[in-house]
């Protein structure tokens, strides 16, 4: 990739007591690109993205966003810099409507009153732009499907200035159709120039979706590969720690 990476991670380390959850991890992520992070349970994937969302403070290492270097991020700083982690269940108010959720915490007001008209209009525009098919933005979010809720959570992240969207197993609990819809959404986002980092245990999904794959094992970034240059079998053997495959290890 000749693109200038929007996000760069260098030598990131994080320990919990004697567990080294992250060990000298290096990673680049670009806009307009889907980067999949794969690895076995406990490999350090969630820990890595938590340092990116500012939820965790790394012990050492550097995070560079758009050319600016930081020793650690805060949730607020990460948001300002457009690094947004979407946690569907933690970010939606299930008892409220689509547009109320899209604007949660960032409502438009006019003379002190809520400007519902403007929020409804912009929600419709936003969902249309992201090709999210939700018939009725007056629908209560809790009544929508998992895929639609995921889409709303993502749309909100983007409306609030998200440039690099991080998704931790976005389709883990979803059926076939739902998963397809979310994958389509992710593809659309990348085509529109947003950067996507997706954690997934679904190797088939990783290959359908990603431009590059980051393999993690025991806190280390084992390899960062172009998806086209590897096979699923090679990735799987790297995840489980089998024999190193010639030519794919960076």
């Amino acid at each position: 990739m000749e693109k200038q990476p929007y996000l760069q991670i260098r030598q990131l380390t994080k320990s919990f007591g004697h567990i080294e959850a992250l060990r000298n991890a290096n990673l680049d992520a670009c806009q307009g690109e889907i980067l999949a992070i794969v690895g076995d349970n406990g490999a350090g994937k969630s820990t890595l993205i938590k340092t990116l969302s500012g939820a965790l403070t790394p012990d050492s290492g550097v995070i560079t966003i758009n050319g600016q270097a930081y020793a650690h991020l805060t949730p607020k700083l990460a948001e300002e810099k457009g690094i947004t982690t979407v946690y569907q269940d933690l970010s939606l108010v299930n008892t409220q409507t689509v547009w109320e959720n899209i604007f949660l915490g960032h409502e438009y007001r006019r003379l002190g009153w809520l400007n519902k008209k403007k929020m409804r209009r912009e929600t419709a525009e936003l969902l249309k732009r992201l090709h999210v098919s939700i018939q009725d933005q007056e629908a209560i979010v809790g009544h929508l499907s998992g895929g639609q809720r995921q889409a709303i959570a993502v749309a909100r992240a983007i409306r609030q200035g998200g440039k690099m969207i991080i998704l931790d197993e976005p389709t883990a609990a979803m059926g076939f159709k739902e998963t397809a819809a979310v994958q389509k959404l992710i593809r659309n986002l990348a085509d529109q120039g947003y950067g996507i980092i997706i954690i997934s245990h679904n190797i088939q999904q990783v290959f359908e979706l990603s431009n590059r794959i980051c393999v993690m094992r025991q806190g280390e970034v084992l390899a960062l590969l172009d998806t086209k240059s590897v096979t699923a079998d090679e990735i799987v053997s790297m995840i489980v720690g089998g024999t190193a495959v010639n030519g794919v290890k960076q």
Partner: protein, 327 residues
């Protein structure tokens, strides 16, 4: 373009009907109740009786409005009846010690707000369950009322004070006008302001609201403060109406307020609430009590019937919400 607008308007309308189902049901029940009562008692439809119902309703209504926001936010406030009683007593004590009517009223309204805010601080900052917190403040504020009065009622106030309970405003009186005005204001706040929306969001998913950068503690504290304010106004009306401040005034009123909110479509798990529903619920309960009295049903039976009606209504609401349970 034209078709787009119509479609949107249609979906808005459908959503409104769907979401207002409990309120629509309740309104129907109220209309049927009115029909039955007007057929059985000729006195029922008299203007004087209608005014009487609104007057009876006013204190409950005002307490229920504050409670609606508290319950919408996922909380509960058991202390409102006692705060009302305490604020009435404080007004009485202040005025009997020589303070003018309005400074005394304003000071005790302030005390009502402060007491509510204390509830909110304990609940949101120390993170103690609202049920337990307000149970404790209920006991404390009742205790304060008893201590201040020595257990006996305080009688006799100036006309300017009594006016708030017994005066006339055209064909209505101050309690009615005040309660209707507060209902209108609450309606607008709930539906059209950030504060109202966040009350609902807090009950829906406080963590989501917090993550979106909203200072949820501030909102939660202010919601309980508003509930305390409503309680203090109720205390003013109760005291002025009877020209006496009784230390036990307002006991168990919190239960009527909670019942009205739930009857009006509010869920005790938070996230929903309708001021229109609360209004109709309060009127329905008052009409029911009024009707039972007109029909000369003994008070004990009235309790039983009112309780039964509330229970049935809550069961209906629960069955419906079980049906379309949220994720």
């Amino acid at each position: 373009m034209k078709q787009y607008v119509t479609k949107e308007a249609k979906s808005l309308f459908a959503a409104m009907i769907n979401r207002s189902f409990p309120q629509i049901l309740l309104t129907l029940a109220l209309l049927i109740l009115i029909l039955i009562l007007s057929l059985t008692s000729e006195y029922f439809l008299a203007w004087k009786n209608f005014r009487n119902i609104l007057d009876q309703c006013s204190v409950y209504l005002i307490l229920s409005l504050g409670m609606a926001f508290v319950i919408a936010s996922g909380g509960i406030d058991l202390s409102v009846g006692s705060i009302a009683g305490m604020c009435g007593v404080i007004m009485a004590v202040l005025m009997h010690s020589g303070m003018q009517t309005y400074p005394a009223i304003l000071l005790s309204l302030g005390i009502g707000i402060a007491t509510g805010a204390v509830n909110g601080v304990i609940i949101s900052l120390i993170r103690i369950n609202p049920f337990i917190t307000t149970l404790a403040t209920m006991t404390i504020t009742r205790g304060i009322a008893l201590v201040l009065t020595g257990g006996v009622s305080i009688y006799g106030f100036e006309q300017s004070f009594k006016w708030w309970g017994t005066g006339n405003i055209g064909p209505l009186n101050p309690p009615i006008v005040l309660s209707l005005l507060l209902t209108l204001v609450s309606f607008l706040i709930m539906r059209r302001t950030l504060w109202g929306k966040y009350s609902l969001s807090l009950g829906g998913n406080a963590e989501a609201l917090r993550r979106s950068g909203v200072r949820i503690n501030l909102y939660r504290i202010s919601i309980y403060a508003v509930s305390g304010f409503c309680a203090a106004i109720a205390g003013l009306i109760m005291t002025a109406r009877l020209n006496s401040a009784a230390p036990l005034a307002g006991s168990t009123y919190e239960m009527d307020a909670i019942a009205a909110v739930v009857l009006g479509g509010g869920s005790l798990s938070g996230g929903s609430g309708s001021i229109f529903g609360v209004f109709i619920a309060c009127i329905t309960l008052s009409v029911l009590r009024n009707g039972l009295t007109l029909l000369s049903i003994p008070t004990y039976f009235q309790q039983l019937i009112t309780g039964g009606v509330i229970l049935i209504a809550i069961i209906i609401a629960q069955l419906r919400s079980n049906r379309d349970r949220l994720h």
